[in-house]
């Protein structure tokens, strides 16, 4: 990772070489925007989400091609390491893109049922939000990183508010915006101190300066670190800063909720891990304890608060808060030594869990959409007797919930198992024990839903139970989610081998 001095001209081919998937997404986003502006009011906008789906698939192909580029030529970079192309970014980009793809496919059904929603705006904001997430995964400079974070956040604020005339949606969006903006201010204020001490906005150079200055400037650097951690913590809903999550998840449309739960959260982790590994690598032995406290609090409060929930979306929201706690543990283990081996292991654990989380969350939200729409409310009672109405959906939902709880032969089990092993290996026994205990608590509320699905009665004996159908788009997502969740659970080695073969940072 060398830096050149002086100015270099950037040509389009340089940019294309490093950020081809992002460019495609941006161009398609603007194409949809212009299409919406210039065609007459009567023209159907139904094409937009399909254009979005095609774009995301092209971007996925380009990201997969980039794996090969990194393996052959080493990591690419743009404009003095403002933006880098490495496999760490590529893996996270794949997770974001698949999340967006599933969100778009689920949205097609959402548009049919809600004709008032502005389809083109929805589609291009989703694309732009994903570009923000991809920027967060690839940024190597505080400025790019902050811009990426804000592109994702601002797009998500609007997407949450997109349900026309829905008071809960605007309320959720407002809460998200106020808390998210305060978080941005914290991040920026923290970054300003780090910049002030190091004089660098580049993360790697800043990290070197931090190592030199650590002894004399420790209080200021620590202040900067904590301010940034608080800001990032809001974005990934760590516990004292998680209160926006249930409200926003409840208010948002189901596809957007799954987008927030998967893409937004994964992007936050991509950002945190890169910033802290490169910026605070040598000091991490002293700093990891703050992350450990947040992880512990998040696991406890997330799981305990979920016990009291009657609304299924809020229950999944608290469960996703708890998952953020589990996902933070691999990063915490780096506090016991940031040698390369540990970093690769921690990254592998995080990405494996995120991939499983992607499949189970998307699948769960697809089933949830069909069930709550039919019932007309979002309580757990909506699932009562689902097994009688639709055995397939009942079984699929059970697999997703058991995977979230961490039942063997599902992706969630192996994800948690690897994180648990990682914590044990690095001697963080108390955190590993806490992971185990809080997972046990989680079984309780997931079983509440399972009980409703299998045992609950909706009608008297003898009367015909109306069957619950599944639109093709939701059906597709449920199948993909099922195959992904069970596949990662039965053959975890296939994916782990791929992860082990990556050139994470080149």
């Amino acid at each position: 990772m060398n830096l050149t001095t002086g100015f270099t001209t950037i040509t389009f081919s340089d940019v294309w070489h490093v950020m081809a998937p992002e460019l495609i997404m941006i161009l398609a986003g603007f194409a949809i925007l212009l299409f919406d502006l210039f065609v007459s009011k009567g023209t159907s906008r139904r094409l937009s989400p399909w254009l979005g789906v095609v774009t995301v698939i092209v971007a996925i192909v380009l990201v997969i091609r980039n794996f090969g580029v990194v393996a052959a030529e080493g990591p690419g970079q743009l404009s003095n390491m403002l933006y880098v192309l490495d496999d760490y970014g590529n893996v996270f980009k794949l997770i974001f893109l698949f999340g967006t793809l599933f969100t778009l496919i689920m949205s097609i059904d959402f548009f049919k049922k809600n004709p008032l929603v502005a389809v083109p705006e929805y589609t291009y904001l989703l694309l732009f939000g994903t570009v923000g997430a991809m920027t967060m995964a690839s940024a190597f400079d505080l400025i790019t990183l902050f811009v990426g974070l804000e592109i994702l956040s601002i797009s998500s604020y609007i997407l949450v508010a997109m349900r026309k005339g829905n008071s809960k949606a605007t309320e959720g969006a407002m809460k998200y915006l106020v808390i998210g903006s305060i978080a941005s201010a914290f991040v920026l204020y923290g970054m300003s101190f780090i910049y002030g001490i190091t004089g660098q906005t580049n993360i790697a150079l800043g990290g070197q300066m931090i190592a030199q200055m650590w002894m004399e400037m420790q209080p200021v650097l620590l202040l900067g670190f904590l301010l940034m951690l608080v800001g990032f913590g809001v974005k990934i809903s760590l516990v004292p800063f998680h209160q926006w999550a249930p409200d926003t998840y409840e208010g948002a449309a189901n596809p957007i909720t799954s987008f927030l739960a998967v893409v937004s959260k994964a992007a936050g982790f991509a950002l945190i891990i890169r910033t802290f590994i490169w910026g605070f690598a040598r000091e991490f032995g002293e700093l990891y304890i703050y992350l450990a406290i947040f992880a512990a609090l998040t696991m406890i409060v997330g799981n305990v608060a979920a016990l009291a929930q009657k609304n299924i979306k809020r229950l999944l929201a608290y469960s996703s808060v708890a998952q953020a706690g589990y996902l933070l543990i691999p990063l915490v283990t780096l506090g016991k030594g940031t040698n390369e081996h540990n970093i690769w292991l921690a990254l592998g654990e995080t990405v494996f869990y995120l991939a499983g989380y992607l499949f189970m969350t998307m699948g769960a939200f697809a089933v949830l959409t069909a069930v709550t729409r039919e019932a007309g409310n979002e309580t757990i009672d909506a699932f009562r007797g689902l097994y009688k109405r639709s055995p397939f959906q009942a079984v699929a939902m059970s697999v997703f919930l058991l995977s979230m709880a961490g039942m063997p032969i599902t992706a969630g089990f192996f994800g948690k198992f690897y994180i648990f092993l990682g914590a044990i290996n690095t001697g963080l026994y108390w955190l590993a024990a806490l992971l185990f205990v809080t997972s046990a608590i989680a079984f309780y509320y997931y079983f509440g839903v399972l009980k409703a699905i299998f045992a609950g009665e909706t009608s008297e004996e003898g009367t015909a139970v109306p069957k619950l159908g599944l639109p093709w788009s939701l059906n597709l997502i449920v199948w993909i989610g099922l195959i992904g969740t069970v596949g990662l659970g039965v053959f975890p080695n296939l994916f782990l081998d791929v992860l082990n073969g990556l050139h994470w940072f080149g």
Binding site: I158, N166, S181, A185, Y195, G196, I197, T198
Partner: protein, 102 residues
């Protein structure tokens, strides 16, 4: 000649006023203005460090330009959501945003 400490203190005071306002004010517009204060406090910090920091460099000023643009976009979206909220609920009071709790 003002010293670095004075600028940093100003930024810290602005940040705290902004945070206090964002957490306690009842009107959403004032909350948004308070958030703007917090972001501007960070901008003052960045500019101070870019001019008088241990290692003065132009990066801080560039960063500030980006941060100002982003803050403007954020506030614009905030006001747009506020209008939608006002249409739905006919209130811009923070205390009335209680459809969802716990």
């Amino acid at each position: 000649m003002l010293s670095v400490e004075q600028f940093l203190t100003l930024a810290a005071i602005l940040f705290c006023i902004g945070l206090y306002g964002a957490l306690t004010k009842r009107n959403i517009i004032i909350v948004l203005v308070s958030i703007e204060l917090m972001l501007n406090a960070a901008n003052i910090n960045l500019l101070t460090f870019a001019r008088f920091g241990l290692v003065p460099a132009i990066n801080g000023q560039v960063f500030t330009l980006f941060a100002m643009t982003i803050a403007a976009a954020e506030l614009a979206v905030g006001l747009a959501i506020l209008i939608a909220l006002y249409r739905n609920r006919n209130t811009s009071d923070v205390r009335d945003q209680d459809l969802m709790k716990w």
